[in-house]
């Protein structure tokens, strides 16, 4: 294979979506849940899903991450090896492996995403151990490195997460997810439970990490400021439907759908 072919191959790879969603639907009742959602996500791209509570954002996120099965629709993911994986046809083993290697999931409440009974270092090291790292020294080094990356004092490596503030817990959860160098991370209102000043710092950190690591992200938020800061593209959800989708700036500066207009006008512009 020539160098030109290699480069060409890599370019093709970037051209192709990492994550492809078609007609995803799961309803609990009329207009409860989500329906008819389709989109493509490319490597390194951040997609924001916005809408008020009950609009179906969280259901969609659970479906996308394979935590629950849809009534209909498909999700496919292009793995590191280049092969396409049909998420719902995949085995439970494949999904679990994905969720602890190439994917990450940042919960709104860090308590749901952390192992509260073990130290910060063990929290960060867990994914590596699941992947077969059997060297304590290496786990330790990774723990210290990632604590620094998420701006937590490495001296706290042996402390339990419950001794951490809410913002620190959320940063620890992010480190725990990113240690395995995932390519796609799902985030459910990651700044939801935090004070405004803490939120700003976390957003700053997240933005830096997403750029540096070239992460693809699907982030659910009701906070348009968060969406503006992090997302390249937005989907606006209302009563289980996507009512508008497009580039973030476009939607926030020139919303077309009446609901998007309402949503944008109800928030103070930055």
């Amino acid at each position: 294979m020539s160098a030109a072919e290699l480069i060409h191959g890599a370019a093709v790879e970037l051209d192709q979506p990492l994550f492809s969603v078609h007609d995803l639907t799961r309803l609990y009742g009329p207009e409860k849940g989500c329906q008819g959602v389709s989109f493509d996500l490319y490597p390194g791209e951040v997609l924001g899903i916005v809408g008020e509570s009950g609009s179906g954002k969280s259901t969609l996120l659970s479906l996308l991450s394979g935590r629950c099965a849809p009534d209909r629709g498909q999700v496919s993911y292009r793995g590191k090896d280049g092969a396409m994986l049909d998420l719902y046809a995949a085995s439970e083993a494949q999904r679990r492996t994905l969720l602890r290697t190439e994917w990450g999931f940042v919960e709104q409440n860090p308590r749901d995403g952390l192992r509260m009974g073990v130290s910060a270092g063990a929290n960060i090291g867990e994914r590596l151990m699941a992947q077969g790292v059997r060297h304590y020294g290496q786990l330790r080094a990774a723990g210290i490195d990632w604590l620094q990356q998420v701006e937590i004092d490495p001296m706290r490596i042996d402390d339990l997460p419950r001794t951490f503030s809410g913002g620190m817990q959320q940063r620890l959860q992010i480190a725990r997810n990113l240690v395995s160098s995932p390519r796609l991370v799902f985030m459910d209102e990651p700044t939801g439970g935090l004070d405004v000043s803490v939120q700003a710092r976390l957003l700053d950190l997240l933005r830096g990490l997403v750029r540096d690591l070239d992460l693809a992200v699907v982030i659910v938020t009701h906070d348009l400021a968060v969406a503006r800061l992090l997302a390249d593209r937005l989907m606006v959800m209302r009563r289980s439907h996507v009512v508008e989708a497009g580039l973030t700036d476009q939607i926030l500066d020139d919303p077309q759908h009446p609901y998007s207009q309402l949503l944008v006008s109800s928030v103070l512009q930055p």
Binding site: E92, A93, R96, V118, G121, A122, G125, E126, H135, L139
Partner: protein, 300 residues
């Protein structure tokens, strides 16, 4: 018979119980257990659910081990039963007496002479040979239980080989204490596949599981699970490359036989708290002291 073995006389006097099938369990139940055992041997370290029966001993007192022993005992077998390494602890006496009565099999305290050894918490110091079967009594067969209480979830974790969390516990030990702080029921990987609880034997005994010529069977009566390590199977204790698995060592020697490489029990011998250390394996200790005296006893 000799004075050093207080059980010998009454053991011989135990009459064979009538009105029960050979070794207590009915043949159908034994066949069901044997089928489970075959599966267990075929899938080393995998916990096979079985229709455990109520035994006339309480759950937790060795009913799992007894059911396996009952299923494999034949009339020609020579049975040894130990608890904490000793043949003369109350529960070992009680279980040995049970089989002497219900099966009329010969019993022994000498490890090399036994064909079936039922044990609680120890593996004999004397190396086992290929003609022997070791039957372990198991209280909690699930090595993941204290991390994940749900059976549905732990079975999935085994099926998917999702064992990272086992090392989280070891990591935490080292971070907190500088050592892996699990000293008994130390988890092992069997045949590079299943993580298994070796029953609450001290980790001192774990290396004896590895490539053992004897078949090892594990029975948990209350939890209704059985599992096995077939002869010459690889059994590796979980550890880290830079914190390798290591067994306990004593600074003292056995006060009776002078052994410095067997597992020692600590005795407090006076009100001032003075201590003596003696072998936990009573037969091993006896053999070292009187290597030439024959000790076989007969149950009927």
């Amino acid at each position: 018979m000799n004075g050093l073995n207080p059980n010998a006389a009454s053991q011989a006097a135990g009459a064979l119980e009538s009105g029960y099938n050979f070794a207590y369990l009915d043949e159908q139940t034994k066949r069901m257990i044997r089928r489970g055992l075959l599966k267990a041997v075929a899938v080393p370290g995998y916990q096979v659910p079985f229709g455990g029966r109520e035994m006339p001993l309480p759950y937790g007192w060795g009913t799992g081990g007894m059911q396996l022993s009952a299923a494999i005992l034949g009339a020609d077998d020579v049975l040894k039963v130990i608890d904490q390494g000793a043949d003369d602890t109350t529960n070992a006496v009680s279980i040995r007496r049970f089989f002497a009565r219900t099966a009329g099999v010969a019993t022994t305290t000498r490890t090399p002479e036994a064909t079936v050894i039922q044990t609680r918490h120890r593996i004999p110091e004397t190396p086992l040979h290929g003609e022997q079967i070791l039957v372990f009594q198991v209280p909690i067969p699930e090595p993941l239980r204290f991390i994940e209480p749900s059976e549905t979830e732990t079975r999935t974790m085994h099926a998917l080989g999702d064992y990272g969390v086992m090392h989280v516990k070891l990591y935490e030990d080292i971070a907190t204490f500088g050592h892996i702080a699990t000293s008994y029921a130390y988890p092992v990987t069997v045949d590079e596949r299943y993580v298994m609880d070796p029953s609450p034997i001290p980790k001192f005994d774990n290396p004896k599981l590895h490539m053992s010529p004897a078949l090892m069977l594990f029975g948990a009566g209350r939890e209704k699970r059985l599992y096995a390590v077939p002869p010459f199977t690889e059994v590796v204790s979980l550890d880290f490359a830079d914190h390798p698995f290591a067994v306990q060592r004593w600074e003292e020697n056995c006060a009776f036989c002078g052994s410095h490489d067997s597992y020692l029990d600590e005795l407090i011998v006076d009100d001032a708290g003075s201590k003596r250390f003696v072998c936990s394996d009573t037969d091993y200790c006896m053999q070292r002291r009187e290597p030439f005296e024959p000790q076989q006893e007969v149950g009927q």
